[in-house]
C-alpha cells in the first residue's frame, strides 16, 4: 500500500522534474519552449494579483517583457473551482481534455475538489493530481502562487481549463512589449 503510494508520488515528482527542463518533452503536459518556464520567486520583477471569479479573471490581460519573471498571486473569489494556467492556446486545448477526465471521475465537483480522487492511482503511475508548475487549481477562497518566466515572445494566454470555462471566456491575454 505504502510502496505503491510512494511509487505514485515518485512518478509524479519525476514528471514534474522533467517539466523543469524547458522543451524536454512536448507530450502530456506539453511544456514547450514557447511558453516560458517556471521562474524563481527571487527573480520576480513584480507581483501581479489575479482574482478568479465565476467565470472570468481580473485583470483580463497583462503586459510583460520577454525574459521577465512575474510572480502571480492567484485568489479564487468565485463559488466554483477554477484554474489559472499559463500557456499557448494549443497547450490549453490539450490540458482541457485532462481536466474533462477529472470532472468525469468526480475530482472536480462544481465548488469543491475531491482530494482523495486526485491521489487515486490510475494505473501506469498516472494520477489526477494537478501539480504542474505553470498552473494552479483552486477551490473557492483558496490562494496560491505561480512564478513564471516569460522567456520568449509568443501567443500566450493564461486560462482556466475547467470544462466550459475557457469557452465561456475565462482567459486572459499576455501581451509582450
Amino acid at each position: 500500500m505504502n510502496a505503491s503510494k510512494l511509487f505514485v508520488a515518485g512518478m509524479a515528482l519525476s514528471m514534474s522534474a522533467t517539466a523543469f527542463a524547458a522543451g524536454a518533452h512536448d507530450g502530456g503536459h506539453g511544456h514547450g519552449a514557447t511558453s516560458g518556464e517556471p521562474g524563481k520567486a527571487s527573480e520576480a520583477s513584480r507581483t501581479v494579483t489575479v482574482e478568479m471569479y465565476d467565470n472570468y479573471y481580473e485583470p483580463e490581460e497583462i503586459s510583460v517583457k520577454p525574459g521577465e519573471t512575474v510572480r502571480f498571486v492567484v485568489e479564487n473569489k468565485g463559488n466554483l473551482v477554477h484554474e489559472f494556467s499559463v500557456g499557448t492556446p494549443d497547450m490549453h486545448e490539450a490540458h482541457q481534455e485532462k481536466m474533462m477526465m477529472m470532472v468525469e471521475h468526480g475530482v472536480i465537483q462544481g465548488g469543491k475538489l475531491n482530494h482523495d480522487m486526485m491521489n487515486m492511482d490510475m494505473g501506469n503511475g498516472h494520477s489526477m493530481k494537478h501539480d504542474d508548475p505553470n498552473s494552479v487549481l483552486l477551490e473557492p477562497g483558496q490562494s496560491k502562487e505561480v512564478v513564471w518566466k516569460f522567456s520568449d515572445k509568443g501567443n500566450i494566454e493564461f486560462a482556466c481549463n475547467v470544462p466550459g470555462h475557457y469557452q465561456a471566456g475565462m482567459y486572459g491575454e499576455v501581451n509582450f512589449e
Binding site: 505503491s4 471569479y53 465565476d54 467565470n55 472570468y56 463559488n79 466554483l80 477526465m101 470532472v103 468525469e104 468526480g106 472536480i108 465537483q109 462544481g110 465548488g111 482523495d116 480522487m117 491521489n119 487515486m120 492511482d121 490510475m122 494505473g123 501506469n124 470544462p163 466550459g164 470555462h165 469557452q167 465561456a168 471566456g169
Partner: protein, 585 residues
Amino acid sequence: MKPRFLTGLLSLLMPAMVLAGEYDLTVDRVKIDTGDFVKEGIGYNGASPGPVMRFKEGENVRINVTNNLDEITSIHWHGLILPFNQDGVPGISFPGIKPGETFTYEFPIQQAGTYWFHSHSGFQEPDGAYGAIVIEPEKREPFRYDREYVVQLTDKHPHSGDRIMRNLKMMPDYYNREQQTVGEFFSDASENGLMNTVRDRMAWGDMRMMKADVEDLQGFTGLINGKGPDQNWTGLFEPGERIRLRFINSSAMTYFDIRIPGLDMTVVQADGNNVQPVSVDEFRIGVAETYDVIVRPKDEQAYTIFAESMGRSGYARATLAPEEGMEAAVPQLREAARLTMADMGGMPGMDHGSMAGMDHGNMDMDSSEDMSGMDHSSMEGMDHSNMDSMDHSNMEGMDHGSMAMGKGGQSDPFYAKGSGLVPTAANGGKFLSYADLKAQDPLYEDREPTREIELRLTGNMERYTWSINGVKYEDADPIRLKYGERVRFKFVNETMMTHPMHLHGMWSILDVGAGQWNPIKHTINVNPGTTVYMETEVDAPGQWAFHCHLSYHAAAGMFRKVIIEGGPDSTQAKTDVIAEDGGEA
C-alpha cells in the same frame, strides 16, 4: 408629445426616479412568407417575428401596445418577473386589449438574459405574434463574447391556429405523416422477426396508441428569425470571434434538436439564467425554452445552424458565415422517432414491470457532475486495488445499468429507461441533458420545501383532450398557494407526449439532484413516462397562469390558474369576482 416632455423634465428634477424606457408596439395583420408558402398572420410593428425588445436590468419600462386587429389581443412577457397585472394573460392578469385600444404595460426590469414575448389570446402566437427580449445585465456577465445574435425558432404551418385545433379535434393524427406503414412492418419483421413484429403491433393496437405519436403537428416550415430554410437567415462573423447565440424556441408544438456541424457549443444560459458552462455538440430545446450558447468559429467558412425537429419530420436552418451569400452543407433529416413501451410507463394501470418511469427525487446525483457521456471504456486502465480511499457511498445512486440508454448508448436520466426519445448527437458527441444544467448564481437559498403538490399530466389522444389530474381547465379549481412558502411540484407524465410546463411569474427550480446548484428555469419539459420535480419560492402575489406550452394542448384543457394567497400587503388580493368583458383568450 407634451406629457412625454413633462415626464422627461420631471425625471431630470427628481433624482429618485430611476431609468425609464418607453416603447411602442402595434399588433397588426401581416403577411408571412416562409419561402415555402405565404400566409396571412399576426405580427408586431408590421412584421413577424416582432422587433427584438432591448431592455436594461434595473430600468422601468413603459410599453404602449396598440391593437390594430379586429379581435382582442394581449402580450405576455415570457419569463419576466413582474407584477401580476402586467403579465398579459386575459382573464387572469387583465381583461385583454380590445380592438383599437392602446394598453400601456409598466413594470421594472428585475433580471437579465434572453427571453421572449408573445400573444396570449386565441392562437395568435402560432399565427405569428411573437418576438424576442434581450435584457442587458447591470453587472458583467460570467462569460465573454465579441458579438451576439438572437436565433428565434418557430414551426410556421400553412394552416391557421384555429383550423389546426379543429382538425386535431376531428382527427388527432390529422397532421401525422410519420405513421407506421405496411413497409415498416416488413422491414421490422426482417430485422426483429415476424412474430416479434406482430406481437409489437398488437401490443400497441391493444392500447390504441401509436408509437409514431411524437409530433402532433407536422408539415410546418421551420423558421429562424422569420426566415425559412431557403431564405437562410445568416449571421456574419470574423474568424476567431466568440459569438453568443440566443436560441429561443417560439414554436407552437415543436421541439428542435440543434447542432452546428463543425462547431462546439458552450451553453452558458438556460431560460435567461446563467448556468455553469457546459460544452456540447447538440442540444434539444423545448417549446418556450431559451438557451444561450457561445461558439467560436475559427475558419473562414460558412457553418449551418441545423435545427431538426424531435420527431424528424421537419427542420429549420440558418447560417453563420464570414460573408453574405455563403452556405454550408445542410444535413439530411434522421430517421423518424418512435416511442417505446418505456414511454408508456407513466400510464396508470399499465404494468410494464421494470419499465416504470424513474423517480428522480430519489436519485443521488451529487457524486458525479456529469453522468451522460461518460466514457466507461476509459476506466480500464484504472488500478482498482487502490480504490479504498474512494467514497463508494456516493456511488449508490449511479446505477449505470438502469440509465436510459438511447440508440448510441447515450443515457439521460430525464427520459424513461428505454425511451425511444433519448436524444443522441448526430456526430456521436455530447448531447445536453437537464442533468448537465447547474445554476451559476443561485437566486434563492436552498431550503426544505413547505409542501409538495402532485400534478399528473393527463390526456386522451383520440379525443384530443389534455388535462392536469384528469381535469380540464374549464372544469378545474385554481391551485392555491401561500405567499412565502416553497412548493415542490411533482409532475407525473401519464401521457406519451412531452409537455413543457410553464409557470408564470415565479421561477421553477428544476431538481437535477444538485441541491443549491439546481438550475432556475421558467419552462420545464416533462418527458413521457417520467416524473420530474421542481420547486418554486412563492414570492409573487396575485394570480398566474400555469400551463403546458404546447399551444393546442393548452387550448384543449392543459391549463390552470394559480392564486397566491397573502402577500407583502395583507389588504391585497381580494378575490371578489368582477365580471369583465369576455372574448378571445
